[in-house]
Subunit: 404 residues, 2 copies
């Protein structure tokens, strides 16, 4: 039935089925996010609800014949010395590690930026983020097996990834990360073959996705085909001419992609998932529970979330959750720089008596005491990435309507 559904004139006909609740931002390639309230329903985002951000058609890869190539392009290296690993090799020749890490698209919350002033890109809401448990081989272990030695740090600065997804001209998706992140014991980069205890889904990179905790989704390359230790960054469009931040004064006439660094670690972020913008709450309920998520890149832990119900004039401190269970006070925090997973937050507030509209605002603080910027226009950029100003939703408070 899968083979029957293939349409040779449509490269996207091999794409898998998706959950109907997803909000589709683009069909081909498929880009979709869950409704906000699903994000705060469980600490781990279920695979079917996890945002899908595809740049190209989903490739169908035969797990039996799949090979991952690992190449170290040193000045003194013999070429052709690349390591080639089957899926079985990755599963059986390397210890299996599991990491809980949040992945966020650089374009998450772009719609907020677009509303303030037009940007170019997929119109993501607040759902281009999810928290998963990833299992696989450590990238570090695989690089060492491929012959990486500490001396290579003298010339190598980057680890490039090539996807097996490609456009009609044969161009594949590609990205790179700093070598130090890839090779560090503490970097926790994985070549994942499982997502939330299940086989990695087709939309999320089956059979292998590189997980780069704390780093923008765009570098967590799916359908991984090749790894290259190199002195240069990936030459791909997405590394060189996309996924970079610019000043609000930079427009499409003046933009020079060489002047900005590729986005790697993401800044502090938070959003309100419940209630939705425009929701109506019943005055007779007397109180309302506000929910959301907060996360920061680079393994920086979220240490506080401030929530306002008066548009940012006064603030209360939300309760943070690092699991679906009750927090145990003695639970050991992750070591500094290894807090890869988001926190869900919650705050129950009495409904204010003197108003029919509440403007709910949230802002988070990470372990380096980085704060979110207050407003959008000063961080506006032409591609609408890095949209992390305070999140705001408006909620109406209404008296219960009598039917009589």
């Amino acid at each position: 039935d899968y083979a029957r559904s293939l349409n040779p004139s449509d490269p996207f006909s091999s794409d898998p089925e998706r959950h109907p609740v997803l909000r589709i931002n683009n069909l081909k390639p498929f880009n979709a996010e869950p409704p906000p309230e699903i994000l705060s329903e469980s600490y781990i985002t279920p695979n079917v609800f996890f945002f899908k951000r595809n740049h190209l058609p989903v490739p169908r890869i035969d797990p039996e014949s799949y090979k991952l190539t690992v190449e170290i392009q040193g000045p003194n290296r013999e070429r052709g010395g690349a390591l080639s690993l089957s899926l079985d090799d990755l599963k059986n020749k390397f210890p299996k590690h599991t990491v809980t890490a949040t992945i966020q698209c650089a374009g998450n919350r772009r719609s907020d930026m677009h509303k303030a002033k037009q940007v170019k890109g997929l119109n993501w809401g607040i759902g281009a983020i999810g928290n998963g448990t990833w299992s696989g081989a450590k990238l570090r272990d695989v690089l060492l097996a491929a012959g990486y030695s500490p001396d290579d740090a003298n010339w190598a600065r980057h680890v490039q990834f090539e996807g097996l997804d490609q456009d009609v001209a044969g161009t594949t998706y590609g990205a790179s990360i700093p070598l130090r992140k890839a090779i560090s014991e503490d970097g926790d980069c994985l070549l994942a073959y499982e997502m939330n205890g299940e086989e990695l889904p087709l939309d999320h990179g089956f059979p292998i996705r590189v997980i780069v905790p704390g780093t923008v989704g765009a570098r967590n390359v799916k359908w991984l085909g090749k790894i290259i230790v190199s002195d240069v960054e990936s030459s791909s469009h997405w590394q060189q001419n996309d996924y970079k931040g610019f000043s609000p004064s930079t427009d499409w006439d003046t933009v020079d992609y060489k002047t900005a660094p590729a986005i790697q670690e993401l800044p502090i972020q938070s959003a309100i998932t419940v209630p939705a913008d425009g929701a109506i709450v019943d005055r007779s309920d007397e109180e309302v529970t506000l929910k959301g998520y907060a996360w920061s890149g680079g393994g920086r832990e979220v240490v506080r979330v401030d929530v306002s119900i008066d548009g940012g004039k006064t603030w209360k401190i939300a309760q943070l959750k690092s699991s679906d269970k009750e927090q145990t006070a003695g639970a050991m925090a992750p070591p500094p720089g290894q807090a890869w997973a988001w926190k869900l937050w919650e705050l129950t507030v009495p409904l204010p008596a003197d108003t029919e509209e509440m403007e709910v605002v949230c802002k988070a603080v990470d372990s380096s005491y980085n704060m979110q910027p207050d407003s959008i226009l000063p961080i506006w950029n032409l591609r609408g990435v890095l949209s992390n100003a305070w999140h705001r939703v408006k909620v109406k408070i209404q008296e219960e309507q009598d039917d009589q």
Copy 2:
């Protein structure tokens, strides 16, 4: 003459002389900062102008009899196995390393916060920051010499530092940093005996100061007497009950120091050093050169500084300088996470024709694309630390006055 000047009834009588240009925030203990324009005059801040932030009287330590104790407090360790190192040992038994790193006090720019709403603390302007070149033994090398082994990471989380400065009751200054920062090859922590090529000055910790690049000044303990690898943070007042960030809603009645993490890495910061707030520029000059500094903690490089002359409505991009020389285009950036030094910035703008007052604003961006918060009140905290909202100065533009 030094001995003659000592006054037994004044513990501060042994303090050294200071440069008269420093602006004194407190005399005993001595706390002072340079005038802002001195900060942007040279990429390396001269020792005499470098801000002095003392918590206690400056101790006079005999370099001949000085001993640094290094203790590893493991569960399976014999007590009393501490390493004791003389100043000569530190200089001759360990390789000498040099690191250029900016040190900033947690209270830098507190006066801006105090102006918005009262806080408790020394009223620092924008000068509680400086950029120095530090030379000494690597903390990592000394910890390894003291018997630290990778297995210790299973129980140890912190490295504590005790100063030799003490109050009349004998309480010494103390602080701690995460073990990972202290032991990492890339952390670049030093036991410094030189500052800018000179012997470490008395005010800066003679004979030994621990330099913790990317980390708040308070953890860069001066007059270092003891290092302890431990499972717990320093129990000192300054680690436990000071140097922490809180919500704007936390006041002296509700503050619970246990709920907030000790400040370690500092967030993105920038300030305008020239012109000064309230300066008058001459209309006939036609243009004005704006100058300042920008820095971020955790080794995150400053990648852009945006400057506005209309109060933040529109922005221009400043030129960044990483030395006093002309920037060479091919100069290699520090590896990610090891950009310890600030950037000076400069921007020459035409004087606007239509106004007699310019509001100059600056905001910086680091390599994790962290941005400064727009305004002060939402980051206000009762101790006035972490004051890193956009910096603003007002400048008057006047027609040249004719004397006739």
